[in-house]
């Protein structure tokens, strides 16, 4: 007989831990009100079930999902787990319960509320990963390449192949400062490892090429097409900290300096931009 009291699960925050929680949820025939990570737990009067991470259970859940529901669903679960916001575990758990009761076709039922919640999480994670493939920048430190990123979601597993494929024979590191992990690659090995405190190597000598790039960037804009709204839509400001070419534009009182763009030309550009925005209607929420 399932327990009727309000119950929450606590687990260690790993994917295996979460799969163990899924296992317990099925064996206890209950969906908990919440699933939390040990470390973020606040004192609570609710009944807490502590999940012990059990690799055997995790493996069973994994193969169960893969065999019974197919790769698409497993992929969705894995991807959605990289989503970094409260409540993701319960959303995924509900999705898994629904999937087991309704079968394989669940992956395509994106009009359904439970499914669309998880689907949207996957899309958000995928978009964040794409942004990091675009905007992660490396600095050279004695031949090794270093990049520091601050992603909203845990995207390292998703961007791994992209960077490893193109820089197979380089040594590089991408440090995710938000989640305390790093992707480290050498020509021989690749690994994503947890990193607590990292002393970022000094890259101040790597000025020449970033300087060239900054200068190049300044010269490829066409003054009479100046359109900052469009740029911001494609390249949101939260990434500018990564980018040598626009980092200085974040400083207060920055005046855009376009090549052979007089103040007048730029003003004309701004008017153009304003006009475009009126024409396009809803860009930027107006």
């Amino acid at each position: 007989m399932p327990d009727r009291g309000i119950l929450i699960f606590a687990y260690d925050g790993t994917f295996e831990g979460f799969l163990s929680a899924v296992f317990d949820s099925f064996s206890m025939k209950t969906i908990p009100a919440d699933i939390v990570v040990f470390d973020d737990m606040e004192p609570s009067l609710l009944k807490i079930h502590y999940i012990e991470t059990d690799f055997e259970h995790a493996k069973r859940v994994r193969t169960g999902i893969e065999n019974k529901l197919g790769y698409t669903v497993l992929n969705m679960v894995e991807k959605a787990f990289l989503f970094d916001e409260e409540g993701k575990e319960t959303a995924i758990l509900r999705f898994i319960h629904k999937a087991f009761s309704e079968g394989r076709s669940i992956g395509s039922r994106i009009g359904d509320e439970t499914v669309s919640t998880v689907y949207k999480m996957c899309v958000a994670v995928g978009n964040e990963a794409e942004r990091h493939r675009q905007f992660a920048r490396f600095s050279d430190s004695k031949g090794a390449l270093i990049s520091v990123i601050h992603p909203k979601h845990f995207v390292l597993p998703l961007i791994k192949n992209f960077f490893c494929a193109r820089m197979k024979n380089e040594t590089f590191m991408i440090f995710d400062a938000e989640h305390g992990a790093a992707l480290i690659h050498t020509p021989k090995r690749t690994a994503i490892i947890p990193v607590e405190n990292l002393e970022i190597p000094d890259c101040s000598e790597d000025r020449f090429y970033s300087g060239l790039w900054k200068n190049y960037y300044r010269h490829i804009a066409i003054a009479s097409r100046y359109n900052p709204t469009c740029r911001r839509a494609h390249m949101p400001k939260r990434f500018w900290e990564y980018l040598p070419e626009v980092r200085e534009e974040l400083e207060e009182g920055f005046v855009p300096k376009l090549s052979f763009g007089t103040a007048e030309e730029i003003a004309a550009g701004i008017r153009n931009d304003f006009k475009n925005r009126l024409l396009e209607g809803e860009t930027d929420g107006n």
């Binding site: 039922r109 193109r166 024979n169 970033s210 490829i220 066409i222 100046y226």
Partner: protein
Amino acid sequence: MDMYEKLEILAEAAKYDASCSSSGSGRSSSEGMIGAATPSGCCHSFTADGRCVSLLKILMSNACVYDCKYCISRRSNDFPRATFTPREIAELTIEFYRRNYIEGLFLSSAVVGTPDWTMEHMIEALRLLREEYGFAGYIHAKAIPGADPVLTHRLGLLADRVSVNIELPSEKSLVSLAPDKTKHNILEPMGLIKTGIEENCEDLVKYRHTPKFVPAGQSTQMIVGASPETDYHILHLTESLYKKYGLKRVYYSAYVPLQEDALLPSLDTRPPLLREHRLYQADWLLRFYGFEASEIIDPKKPMLHPEVDPKCSWAVNHLDDFPVEVNTADYEMLLRVPGIGVTGAKRIVRARRSQKLDFDSLKRLGIVLKRAKFFITCSGKTLQKLPETTESMLWAITSPNRMGGFTDYGMEQLSLFEPVLTGEVVRECLTGEF
């Protein structure tokens, strides 16, 4: 001349080339190589005018022997000149690539001496990059019209994409504005590349180690607004380029006046950005939405509608085909609904396999109903009463956006941006007429 200055001059001269895609090719690197190309491409930055930067776009040289009237690098222009050595190009590409600034190289050049000489040096730069530096990333190269066919072929074996700019949409304009270029000159390499790609496709099936020839296909670009051609003319030309020459992309570039010339629009003309935008929308309809140029535009109204996009414009004139039932309509018809794009149509098709769709579930799929709601039904229901005539439909679609640009209403509020836009300026920008 140091690297900074050189890069400045040669980037400045290359920036009017619109193409910057890095898609359509797949390659991975093996031992001792660097770089990879992914079929979807990747944009690494965006310029202050909002265009994507995916490739390091430079000219090899801007010391041109030609005298095209619209071009900044024309012979008769007093302008600083520079030339990169092949090794400089290779180094720069590799170092930018390692830092994830770029996806690859876009190499173009002014004609230095003869077309053959120019082409040989471009090939040398690419060969160095591919062979000595082991670069497996994306390369887009411009074929120089008038060069030997053998050279064009060699360029095609090194690059992912090759393009030849058609420059102006008609032969007449070409004769008057670019006297050193001819239609034959431009179409010849285009034809060569087309046959090359076709032969290569056959060879790739037959032999395992055939080197790939222009795997990402070819593209072209034309200037819009420098000469008097209409959108009707341009779209039909585009369509025939896609059909006859198998092009991957046709780019349009709104004419930015850089030179004073009696044959050209005056220097204070604004680039017809809205016109360019509409042309791109129409171009997308040709490539991804199954439209024919003759459906999008008719010779009686040879310019695209400034106020609504071409698909909307088609839809309001074909109200008999609407509303479309989302639960049963085929994919091709869903694509024709204003407000539903390729992603949306695919999601609808995927989702309706296992459930009936209503307006709430459409919202959950991420379909924007702002315009679509006038053209669809869900299980026979509409979201609101549908306008019945073309005029009322047009009004319904555009009314939330009605603003000063089209009437004089609201112009006072723009005084923040002195001088105030007059109705005339706005119309000029809308129609691209001068």
